[in-house]
């Protein structure tokens, strides 16, 4: 047992443990009671839960839009929804799902889980974390309020210029869309930075990079992808706003701008975005497979290398969204090769997961069922992705329902199925109660089968020539039956999602009490009570393997000596996770909320006048100054003796 000694300050250790330690840590790490505590908290678990619930609400809203679209498309030449409303619907659906659900929910799961999985007491930069949530909430609210007021964006989630430019999208719709991007960019980048710092510096002693759970590896790769890709779309949307509001000409071909500049910048972000969604999903799959097969994931080094490879290749494939724009043919070949190459690390991962089932002792409970659904669905989506990597084939299927089928197989199969499995898996950790197995299985089968009925026919529709983003289609094209089938399938999925929610709510109130480790899982988050106390771990655990809870069934070694009268974290070295420094963790503060409110005022009013950027900078600066104002002398001794 390592002991961090120091001067006569209260610390956890032999003299202070059990209930007495719990009381001290509760006082130090607890939030103020009531609303004030709710608004000022810097606890990664409280903010993570808020983030997750908000993202899931956006998932439901986006799903409702999808149902409306499916109703309109169920019959040819249907007059149910006007073209203007339909165009808003599909723009809102794509924007909500990509910017307000998929990326935030993955980051939200990471905010909640990563500090627990690596054995630390809070995320790095926890006030930035709170700020990030409020920015995300404000951006999502802006978009949805606009939609309800019938000024929702209608230029597609990809907002190609010149259609989204000042000439062809007058009014405020596209400005609201572009500014919502700014909000979510700020939020996503903030979280990415926190996660990188947390993972690299706050791992429990002994958790070398080679002992990190695969989900944490996935989050690390994802966070770096966010950091490198999001500035591209922030730049693109900033230039779009400038073109629209202050008369710049970045995308105006008549003034030596270029519409294709938008596409390059957008897809340089847009394709990594897909892997930003998939890689954490792969992390969920690894954790679930490991626990439910009672065997470490097969070929861990290969899995890690596969994740890193996907993260790197993600930045070399964006032009495959632009095969029809007439760029040089020879250059396209590079992007064909790079896109196909993504199938190599993906194929290795698929193999390793199945090999883990093969060699393990699998229990086919709901989370593992979602893994199986993931494998079946994601492989279909991956293989249709290989088809589209080919330039000639893409020239036929690009912008058809074949693509719609493909990316729903990849995104729902690759991210939403693992997410639903992950929610079922970590629900007892987060709430302290198990989710119902019977209702869980029912909704699983309905989601899985309903999904196939809803989306498989879209492959055929695409091959039969149905383009995307059409609000209606003529009779006699042979598309009627498959569209009706897709609509029926989508309603089965909707019903199943409703069942999932009913199950979650019922389990939250009446579910079986879980205990710290109901699944007999091997990773650190299961070493603390469910739900975890605010300080996460009474003593920081020490790790000697990838599966610490399996290898130390009775006594998880711990390190003691962190102060209990101050919020103190143990920092460790980047590679080997040797104890390095003690670091104070920020106290709760209301200023992140004020900073978010003033930034929101700045962003929203800048849609109406550029002067808002100038005037609005003052309240933002004031809030940030208060946020960073030093309130107490620094901790006396960040030294480990």
């Amino acid at each position: 047992m390592t002991v961090l000694s120091g001067r006569d300050l209260p610390r956890d250790g032999e003299d202070l443990q059990g209930a007495a330690l719990h009381g001290r840590l509760e006082r130090t790490w607890g939030d103020a009671p009531g609303l004030w505590g709710w608004l000022t908290t810097t606890d990664h678990k409280r903010i993570g839960k808020r983030y997750i619930v908000t993202a899931l609400v956006f998932l439901m809203l986006g799903g409702l839009l999808a149902l409306a679209m499916r109703l309109q498309l169920a019959r040819p030449e249907s007059g149910l929804i006007s073209p203007d409303r339909y165009n808003q619907l599909f723009t809102m659906h794509g924007t909500t799902m990509m910017f307000l659900f998929a990326v935030p929910v993955m980051e939200a799961m990471a905010i909640y889980l990563v500090p627990l999985m690596i054995g630390t007491r809070n995320i790095s930069f926890p006030r930035l974390n709170a700020f990030s949530y409020y920015m995300y909430l404000a951006g999502g609210t802006l978009l949805w309020v606009a939609f309800v007021l019938n000024i929702g964006p209608d230029a597609g989630w990809f907002a190609y210029v010149p259609l989204s430019g000042p000439e062809f999208s007058p009014g405020k719709r596209t400005d609201i869309w572009a500014q919502m991007i700014t909000f979510t960019e700020v939020a996503a980048l903030a979280v990415a930075v926190e996660l990188v710092a947390t993972i690299l510096k706050q791992r429990a002693p002994g958790m070398t990079l080679a002992r990190m759970p695969l989900f944490v590896w996935g989050v690390l790769v994802t966070a770096f992808m966010v950091i490198f890709s999001m500035p591209s779309v922030a730049l693109a949307s900033g230039m779009l706003i400038a073109d629209r509001l202050v008369g710049t000409q970045f995308y105006n071909q008549y003034e030596h701008g270029d519409p294709l500049l938008w596409q390059h910048l957008f897809w340089f972000f847009g394709h990594p975005e897909v892997y930003i969604i998939f890689v954490p999903g792969a992390g969920f799959v690894s954790q679930i497979t490991e626990t439910f097969c009672r065997r470490p994931v097969f070929a861990y080094p290969a899995m890690v290398l596969a994740l890193v490879t996907i993260g790197l290749l993600a930045f070399g494939v964006w032009v495959h969204h632009m095969f029809a724009t007439g760029l040089p043919r020879m250059g396209y070949s590079f992007y064909t090769a790079a896109t196909m190459a993504v199938a190599i690390p993906s194929g290795i991962q698929i193999f390793c997961w199945i090999a883990t089932i093969w060699d393990g002792r699998p229990r086919f409970q709901v989370p593992l069922l979602y893994v199986v659904a993931f494998i079946v669905t994601f492989v279909i989506g991956g293989l249709s992705g290989v088809m589209q990597a080919s330039v000639p084939i893409d020239l036929q299927v690009h912008d058809t329902y074949f693509i719609v089928a493909h990316f729903h197989y990849v995104l729902i199969g690759g991210a939403v199925f693992p997410l639903l499995g992950a929610i079922t898996y970590w629900f007892p950790k987060i709430t302290g109660r198990m989710m119902g197995e019977g209702l869980g299985k029912t909704s699983f089968w309905m989601i899985f089968l309903g999904f196939q009925v809803a989306f498989f026919p879209m492959h055929l529709l695409g091959m039969w020539g149905m383009p995307r983003r059409v609000y209606t289609y003529p009779t006699g094209m042979g598309w009627d039956e498959m569209n009706m089938l897709a609509t029926l399938g989508s309603f089965v999925v909707a019903l199943a999602v409703l069942l999932f929610v009913v199950n979650a709510v019922h389990s939250l109130l009446r579910g079986a009490v879980a205990g710290p480790n109901p699944w007999d899982a091997p990773t650190l988050e299961w070493a603390t009570p469910s739900p975890p106390p605010q300080y996460n771990f009474a003593h920081i655990p020490v790790v000697a393997s990838r599966t610490p809870l399996w290898d130390n069934r009775h006594h998880l070694p711990v390190v003691t000596g962190l102060r209990v009268d101050d919020r103190e974290l143990l920092l460790t070295t980047v590679m080997e996770a040797r104890p390095d420094l003690r670091e104070a963790s920020p106290l709760p503060s209301i200023w992140p909320l004020w900073a978010a409110i003033s930034t929101t005022c700045l962003f929203i009013s800048s849609i109406f006048t550029p002067w808002a950027v100038l005037v609005g900078a003052f309240p933002v600066a004031a809030a940030l100054t208060a946020w960073f104002w030093p309130k107490s002398p620094p901790s006396p001794e960040p030294v480990i003796e």
Binding site: N87, F168, T336
Partner: protein
């Protein structure tokens, strides 16, 4: 098509893929479409095999749990002898994936090359400039003798057996030209000139549809493509090159006067008359077209009445305005338009 159906996802559902259509990628009615369809079939077979392999492994792993498994607790590294077999399998699988992908990449590249060679193979016989507008297509046929040039809208005719070079431009936003039965798609981008070569091989009527989201009426931006025998094509060209005949019946003459003196001629052109505007479709041979308003309605007396009386009801957001013709004026204008054969 049926081969593909069997291979793609191994579902009998796909046998339906065999049904032909005027807008389908399996049509093989052009040299380019046939080349791509062959490649598509190859990809379906190879990816289908890989899918079958993954599913077989998954099911085997699932069934195996009923078999003999030592009730051991897993240990770190897990380098038990049984892992050795899986490791060899992992290397073999990775090699198979890489090999399969390389084969597909080479096949794709070769197909792409042969598509490009259709441009290089001699001068295309037919030269068309196609311009995308919100939400209709303008086609300009160009000839070595410029007096032969003519314009039409929302339709093109092509002869079998010759390569047609189609130059693509856009007047407003990005559109995409796509005749799936003949070839892949090509975007029309404002400020850029792109092109595509079509080499139709089979007489028929096909449908093209804008494939890049271009605003409110993206769904109603279709183009009729008629592939004729060279002889029929020559007859069509000769007819299109002629200016419009003068109206003869009193009603058509009244419609003609209305057309020339009121709003219609501000946007539309009719060759051989004073109407020469280029904002809307050229109507010189309107009645030779199968559809109106870019494929929104079939062409004919009834639809023409509906379209002219209330364009915004038929195609909300279209640039053709509501004018408010009274009944006589409407009948007269339609009577005149029906002379534009």
């Amino acid at each position: 098509m049926r081969r593909r159906g069997a291979s793609l996802m191994l579902l009998p559902l796909l046998a339906l893929a065999g049904c032909g259509g005027i807008q389908t990628i399996g049509g093989r009615e052009g040299r380019e479409a046939a080349l791509i369809d062959d490649l598509f079939t190859l990809f379906c077979i190879v990816t289908g095999l890989f899918f079958a392999a993954v599913m077989a492994f998954l099911f085997a792993a699932y069934w195996r749990r009923g078999g003999h498994r030592a009730d051991r607790m897993p240990d770190e590294g897990a380098t038990a002898p049984r892992d050795r077999g899986l490791r060899i399998a992992l290397f073999a699988w990775t090699a198979a994936v890489i090999g399969g992908l390389m084969g597909l990449a080479v096949a794709s590249f070769l197909t792409d090359r042969s598509l490009a060679y259709s441009t290089a193979a001699g001068r295309p016989v037919v030269s068309i400039e196609l311009i995308g507008n919100q939400w209709w297509w303008e086609a300009r046929y160009h000839f070595p003798d410029p007096s032969q040039n003519f314009r039409t809208a929302n339709e093109i005719h092509l002869p079998t057996g010759s390569a047609a070079m189609i130059t693509l431009k856009a007047n407003d936003v990005i559109h995409s030209f796509w005749v799936p039965n003949l070839a892949g798609k090509q975007d029309l981008i404002p400020g850029r000139v792109t092109d595509i070569v079509l080499t139709p091989t089979k007489v028929g009527r096909y449908r093209a549809q804008c494939a890049e989201y271009c605003g409110l009426q993206h769904a109603h931006m279709a183009l009729d493509v008629t592939v004729d025998t060279p002889a029929d094509y020559a007859r069509w060209l000769a007819a299109q090159t002629r200016p419009a005949a003068a109206p003869t019946t009193p009603q058509a003459i009244a419609g003609y006067r209305f057309f020339m003196t009121r709003q219609c001629s501000a946007c539309h052109a009719v060759a051989g008359t004073p109407a020469g505007a280029g904002v809307g479709p050229d109507l010189t041979h309107l009645m030779s077209r199968r559809t109106i308003a870019a494929g929104t309605l079939p062409n004919g007396t009834g639809p023409l009445h509906a379209w002219i009386a209330d364009p915004q009801g038929v195609k909300p957001g279209a640039n053709m305005p509501y004018i408010g013709l009274d009944a006589d004026e409407l009948h007269n204008v339609v009577a005149y338009l029906e002379t534009l054969k």
